[in-house]
């Protein structure tokens, strides 16, 4: 029943916002909807923790420790982002960038986007997973092109075409998966259900599955932003509204990675080799290195952090690719802390850009003077994402690196150099933006800094101490992924 609420609230909310999105209190209503979704997901989570995994509605929906943790994360960041977008969008409207109808579209699509992500996470059907991913692309295309400027249209077009093509590959992978499954499970609805596939995974045809995985990885990998299929990601992040950048980086990429990991479990079972893991490691490593070097050349602050997202997604893909309890645990932890930190950074960056009237880093100066909260938020967030102790990112990166050192020592130079380059370029620029003489002006609405510090506090907490139930939960998920 909780699943019904988790999915029903945002779907209903999307329709409601399409009708009432122009009202004065639409932002508050939007936050309230996201809050309800969050509460429902929290209830769902407690039920899974106490009662274990279960499936409902003819097994079409399925919850286990792995996806419920992502559901909770998605609902939580969705809620805080809606809090952030309340003043942010009002300021944009005040600046004349958005009309009231565009805002209606924004709120409606925001809710529908949450719905598609939650659907992708909760569905047990690999086909529906694809459908939800495609629907998530469609809703975010509209969000990215919200400003209707030439640059945002270009970014949205690129996003649509690249991800459309990528997801078409994933569909082909799904077809191949169904092809292999149909032989064992028989034709019809059950052959694409993940739980059923998982039971018979050792009997699935290895050749077909390895080909299917290549297509799935390339397809969903486009959506994760893995190099060399990442081209849409910086554009979409830089040109869309900041709350959208935050949910794209913090949530959508995770959901895509979730799809890949789910497929990997099946393929590993069928093949009995490390092929899937090796592919993921290769893509992940390439993304980390490539993103680090592109990072150094960025002028736009949102683009820079978008590349940082590519880097971190690459690191997670690498971690899941390595497999084994420690790396998988670290991958899950990194998913959590990266979501929280990156969305917090985007919140701060959004306000900083609004203050300076530009996203160019050379024109953003002395944030700490005009608005200490934004400045500190950006500074702490940057330190966190760069993996400074005691933040949670440090813990997860440390675990990933030590595992890599142990099992794949040759990857170490690449990883260390990439992380070093990323550190140097981001840290130097952050200093200039936060400190120094200022050019900014006051904002017409007070910035929403509570989400930023809430996220950062959680990341700090995860760095210092992982609550036992959370650790237990991660361990369950790790056992599932293997």
């Amino acid at each position: 029943m909780e699943i019904f609420w988790v999915l029903g609230i945002p779907l209903f909310g999307g329709l409601m916002m399409a009708v009432f999105g122009t009202r004065q209190h639409a932002p508050e209503f939007n936050s309230a909807l996201s809050f309800c979704t969050f509460v429902a997901s929290a209830v769902l989570t407690t039920r899974v923790i106490t009662g274990g995994p279960f499936s409902i509605w003819g097994e079409q929906f399925f919850v286990d420790a792995f996806n419920v943790f992502l559901v909770a994360l998605t609902a939580f960041v969705g809620f805080t982002t809606s809090l952030f977008s309340r003043p942010y969008m009002r300021i944009e409207q005040h600046h004349g960038k958005l009309s009231i109808n565009m805002l209606r579209l924004y709120y409606s699509m925001y809710q529908l986007f949450s719905f598609t992500m939650l659907l992708a996470l909760l569905t047990n059907n690999m086909g529906i997973l694809w459908v939800a991913m495609e629907a998530a692309t469609l809703t975010t295309v509209l969000l990215v092109s919200l400003y209707r400027t030439p640059a945002s249209l270009e970014a949205a077009w690129k996003y649509f075409i690249l991800c459309g093509v990528g997801l078409a590959q994933a569909l082909f992978g799904t077809i191949l998966l169904y092809f292999a499954a149909e032989k064992i499970l028989g034709a019809g609805g059950t052959a694409l259900l993940w739980t059923h596939l998982n039971e018979v995974k050792t009997q699935l045809e290895p050749t077909v599955l390895s080909l299917a995985f290549v297509f799935l990885l390339v397809g969903y990998g486009t959506k994760i932003g893995l190099a060399p299929l990442h081209n849409w990601l910086p554009d979409a992040h830089a040109e869309g509204p900041t709350p959208v950048s935050a949910v794209l980086s913090g949530l959508l990429l995770n959901v895509a990675l979730y799809a890949v990991v789910r497929s990997k479990v099946l393929v590993d079972g069928a093949l009995g080799t490390h092929l899937a893991g090796n592919l993921m490691m290769a893509f992940g490593l390439l993304s980390v290195v490539m993103a680090a070097f592109f990072l150094a050349r960025q002028k736009d602050v949102k683009r820079m952090f978008a590349y940082s997202s590519i880097e971190h997604m690459g690191l997670m893909t690498f971690a899941f690719g390595m497999g084994g309890p420690v790396a998988t645990f670290a991958g899950l932890l990194h998913m959590t802390v990266h979501s929280l930190t990156k969305s917090a950074i985007f919140f701060a960056v959004g306000h900083a850009a609004q203050k300076s009237g530009t996203q160019l880093m050379k024109d953003i100066r002395g944030l700490i003077k005009t608005s200490p909260t934004v400045g500190w938020g950006l500074a702490l967030g940057t330190l966190a994402i760069l993996g400074m102790p005691p933040f949670g990112v440090f813990t997860s990166e440390f675990m990933i690196l030590t595992t890599a050192m142990h099992t794949y020592p040759w990857t170490m130079p690449f990883l260390l150099i990439a992380l070093g380059v990323a550190f140097a370029s981001i840290f130097g620029r952050m200093q200039l933006m936060v400190f120094g003489e200022t050019t900014g002006h006051r904002l017409p609405h007070p910035p929403a800094m509570i989400p930023v510090f809430l996220h950062l506090a959680l990341v700090l907490l995860l760095g210092l101490y992982i609550p036992p139930y959370l650790a237990d939960w991660y361990r369950q998920a790790t056992a599932l992924i293997g």
Binding site: V131, L153, I161, G188, R297
Partner: protein, 220 residues
């Protein structure tokens, strides 16, 4: 060669689909491109219905009907309307080096046939040999998207790729479960409408639908 007649007809349809994929690859006129796309949908629907008839898979009749509705009637109609409203009905695209594109396409076809060969041997469907053609049409549509610089042909390429995937699903496994197919159809439809709105916005912002104008966002 003792293949039943319906199976021969399906093979024939597959060959025609491949032919249309190549025709689309080399077609310069936007209007003809859309008509080719509609024709592709028609052949697809026909062959799906044939497969449904021979294999007694009744759910495939619905798929065929869905294809007919969506890809032969609705989408071409939307596209026709769009190009009429955008006043690009008679647009001709300048493309360079069609023979080279064709040769690349040929290489892709060989690649696809080789890739599909081991899989089709495992398939138990009467349509298994057409899997290679399905894969080839997917790759050819992909190539078409890469080589086009205007928005509408790119979208037609995208939709043609979807057709190829649909054909792959039919030939390898007699189609996906109905719920998935409905979802995919819905996505395609919604995507098409979003793109329709998009065209107008692009047109307003760039004064053209030529994507060469959209190369501002580049790495320095």
């Amino acid at each position: 060669m003792n293949i039943p007649l319906t199976s021969q007809l399906i093979n024939m349809c597959a060959a025609l689909l491949l032919l249309i994929a190549f025709a689309m690859l080399s077609q310069r006129r936007i209007l003809s491109l859309i008509n080719l796309f509609a024709l592709q949908g028609l052949i697809l629907a026909f062959s799906t219905a044939l497969v449904a008839h021979t294999s007694n898979q009744h759910h495939l009749y619905y798929s065929a009907g869905l294809t007919l509705m969506l890809k032969v009637l609705v989408l071409p109609w939307v596209l026709h309307r769009l190009i009429r409203k955008l006043n690009i009905k008679w647009d001709v695209e300048t493309m360079f080096n069609i023979p080279t594109i064709m040769l690349v396409g040929l290489a892709l076809v060989i690649f696809a046939f080789n890739l599909a060969a081991p899989i089709s041997q495992m398939a138990g469907t009467i349509t298994k040999s057409t899997l290679g053609i399905a894969m080839a049409s997917v790759l050819l549509s992909f190539l078409m998207m890469i080589t086009r610089s205007k928005a509408v042909p790119q979208v037609v390429g995208f939709l043609a790729m979807e057709n190829g995937l649909f054909f792959a699903a039919t030939s390898a496994t007699y189609g996906m479960p109905m719920v998935v197919e409905l979802g995919i159809a819905l996505d395609v439809l919604v995507g098409m409408f979003i793109l329709g709105i998009f065209f107008f916005q692009i047109r307003v912002a760039f004064d053209s639908l030529d994507l060469h104008h959209m190369e501002k966002l580049k790495e320095d």
